[in-house]
Symmetry: C2
Subunit: 206 residues, 2 copies
């Protein structure tokens, strides 16, 4: 049992996984082969199979790790309770839309597509790929006085807007245009939440 005095370097398995995450984020997960990966990491595919059991095992671990990062991100979302919601949304968006996040998002949508096909290594993900994000958003909306159902619908909408605009951004790389659309959403729509306007949807003509 490895318990070296200084934790200078993590376990080899951990190092391999971290390097794999990096490689996969950059080059995608769909075309991944053990040999190419191993060569890029300066090891042999033999070691990957040794430490992860199989290619499937590796992929499963990669997805698990991605989920963990995502959870950390949403947790950070939850932690910030002081900021007004629209400003909070702007910050969140500017984090997500940043160039440096693009590779991660490309990977996210790639894995998302695989999950929609039921690929085995994504089984754990499909259950929470929406809900894990929904919960904190619902909480924020409720905290701002929205009724339960509205809070949920609005959260779902916000999530959809965010992912939809990210898809747009990654394809067009038009940061300005996408920012404008998000701003359009935030300034025209979201304010309704803060003003305590409840269930006005019945009144078809104001």
């Amino acid at each position: 049992m490895t318990k070296p005095g200084a934790k200078a370097a993590a376990s080899p398995r951990e190092r391999l996984l971290a390097a794999t995450m990096d490689h996969v984020t950059r080059h995608g997960i769909g075309e991944l082969t053990l040999r190419q990966l191993a060569k890029a990491l300066g090891t042999s595919h033999r070691m990957l199979v040794y430490h992860f059991g199989s290619k499937e095992g590796l992929l499963t671990e990669v997805v698990r790790r991605s989920e963990a990062e995502q959870r950390a991100f949403t947790a950070q979302l939850m932690a910030d309770t002081g900021t007004p919601p629209i400003e909070q949304a702007r910050r969140l968006w500017s984090q997500l839309a940043d160039n440096e996040m693009w590779p991660r998002e490309r990977l996210f949508f790639e894995v998302y597509a695989q999950a929609l096909r039921g690929r085995p290594h994504t089984r754990a993900l499909l259950d929470e790929i929406v809900d894990a994000w929904l919960e904190p958003l619902v909480a924020i909306n409720r905290r701002n006085g929205m009724a339960r159902d509205d809070a949920r619908a609005a959260a779902r909408l916000s999530l959809a807007v965010t992912r939809g605009l990210l898809l747009d951004l990654l394809a067009t790389q038009d940061r300005k245009g996408v920012d404008a659309a998000m701003e359009h959403f935030l300034t025209s729509y979201a304010p309704l939440a803060g003003t305590g306007a409840k269930k006005q949807k019945r009144r078809s003509r104001p």
Copy 2:
């Protein structure tokens, strides 16, 4: 030169392509191999290479065909000028969200992810994967009296909402929940367009 009196059956290439579209819609395009496909179509991978030059050639053709279908769909959107925009949006959504469309949308997002990775057979798609849909939406918004910039931002937003909610739907299969979010969007936000409200975003506090 094949010009049979009755066009009973299209060219073999065309039949193969149609069958491939069907197969790929059902089983995905990421894991596709010529041999498996050929077996499913009751032919040999030899013929696929013969008629499409290579696997890449086949994939390119599949993507091209998908684009064509998409264009037909948006054209239908453009044609309908009489319906009020919100009702038009509801119809569009109910078409897209229908169970029968799910396989197509799964394929769409799968190909989208590949396009984001720069896969060669998707090159033609990346340019228009947003714009092709944006144009008709912008036109509708303009027709309803929105200023150029607002029309564009709103169109972009609508597209993002639609795609984001489709992603949600495909993952959660929660049609009710997603419908509620869309309705939330349509009833709370879109009405702003019809009322001739222009450029109100400057007024930071009403």
